[in-house]
């Protein structure tokens, strides 16, 4: 599979949104121990799910395409991050990351001002939204980590959701 525009297929974004909501619901339900553990286990599961999808998407869309063939190796970590901000985000959400910051010591902060998967949720669930939102960040954090992993970089990705529907992702490269 290549990311050839002519053959790229699409489905309605609501179908994806609704699937996401149910996915988070069912995976947080399967663990019925104490609340804290519960959330952590669900988070881990969703993150891993995202990781696999992120890996797969980079594999099928960019392994052979121009983006990586012309530059088989990224010049540096910033280059890889830019790839996530631009190409990967475009593939996922038809938009780019709105803001990128770095402390120049291996930590990058990506801000999406209107995170696709929060727009509907913020409208649907008025109370407890921020807490629930944390669970909803597991999947996208995994997506990023999976994508980076396929590009040969090990990372830790965490999200901050204090300001819905804005979402910031903090990416920290792990030294090998």
């Amino acid at each position: 599979m290549s990311a050839d525009l002519a053959t790229t297929k699409y489905v309605c974004d609501s179908a994806m949104d609704l699937l996401m909501i149910e996915m988070v619901a069912i995976l947080s339900k399967t663990h019925s121990e104490t609340d804290g553990e519960d959330r952590e286990a669900a988070y881990a599961k969703l993150e891993l799910l995202g990781y696999r999808v992120g890996m797969g998407l980079v594999e099928s869309n960019f392994a052979n395409s121009r983006a990586t063939r012309d530059k088989p190796r990224f010049a540096d970590n910033l280059d890889i991050i830019k790839f996530i901000c631009k190409d990967f985000w475009l593939l996922l959400f038809n938009k780019q990351i709105d803001n990128l910051k770095t402390n120049h010591r291996g930590v990058y902060v990506l801000t999406d001002n209107n995170f696709r998967w929060f727009v509907r949720m913020a409208a649907d669930i008025p109370t407890d939204t921020a807490q629930l939102a944390v669970l909803h960040t597991a999947f996208p954090c995994g997506l990023i980590r999976g994508a980076l992993s396929n590009l040969g970089v090990s990372s830790i990705v965490l999200a901050d959701v204090t300001n819905l529907p804005q979402c910031t992702f903090q990416i920290k490269f792990r030294l090998i």
């Binding site: 297929k9 489905v11 069912i26 869309n61 999947f139």
Partner: protein, 188 residues
């Protein structure tokens, strides 16, 4: 007009996400029948939400007959959400049952099932999904949930799936009854 207002996302993201979800559920439940049930339930929850959007975007008048309903499901419902137009066929004589044949299933484009998931449905249960994995069973739930919201109680189940090496992917829809406006919809 609604066609332009529907945002689209990459079908591969959708398919991979669904695939990973099914894999996770199979691992969690270790029982295909239970996974089928869970997928159907998820679908039901999606269906009851999705119908609002469907009605708002399509602004269609009420369907006069079940035949019309089937047509709308295929040509507008499937088209709107999954970008496909499955074939409606195999009507029963009383027009209360029909089949949906899906040629290109966006949920399962890159999927291959393990052998143990391929057990055929036992003929004795009338072809209902008692054994093996019905990978796309979420669709049955979606249809059931959505139709219940427009007061049509239906049974929906997979008859065959190309993933199970069948010739076609077929979903059977059976109208059980038309619900009364004032009776609350059954909840699970």
């Amino acid at each position: 007009i609604w066609r332009n207002r529907t945002d689209k996302i990459n079908a591969e993201l959708f398919a991979l996400t669904y695939g990973s979800l099914v894999a996770t559920l199979v691992k969690d439940y270790e029982d295909y029948a239970e996974v089928n049930t869970q997928l159907d339930k998820m679908g039901y929850n999606i269906g009851v939400r999705l119908i609002e959007e469907f009605l708002a975007k399509s602004s269609l008048p009420k369907c006069g007959t079940f035949v019309e309903t089937a047509d709308v499901i295929s040509k507008i419902g499937f088209k709107m959400f999954l970008g496909i137009t499955p074939t409606i066929t195999n009507w029963s004589a009383d027009t209360k049952e029909f089949s949906i044949i899906i040629d290109e299933n966006p949920l399962s484009e890159f999927v291959e099932l393990p052998d143990d998931a391929l057990l055929p449905p036992p003929a004795s249960t009338g072809g209902s999904a008692a054994t093996g994995l019905w990978y796309s069973n979420i669709l049955c739930g979606v249809l059931r949930g959505a139709l219940e919201m427009v007061l049509l109680q239906v049974d929906v189940f997979f008859v065959s799936d190309v993933l199970r090496h069948d010739d076609a992917t077929e979903i059977r829809v059976r109208l059980v009854r038309i619900l009364d406006e004032d009776v609350p919809a059954s909840d699970e």
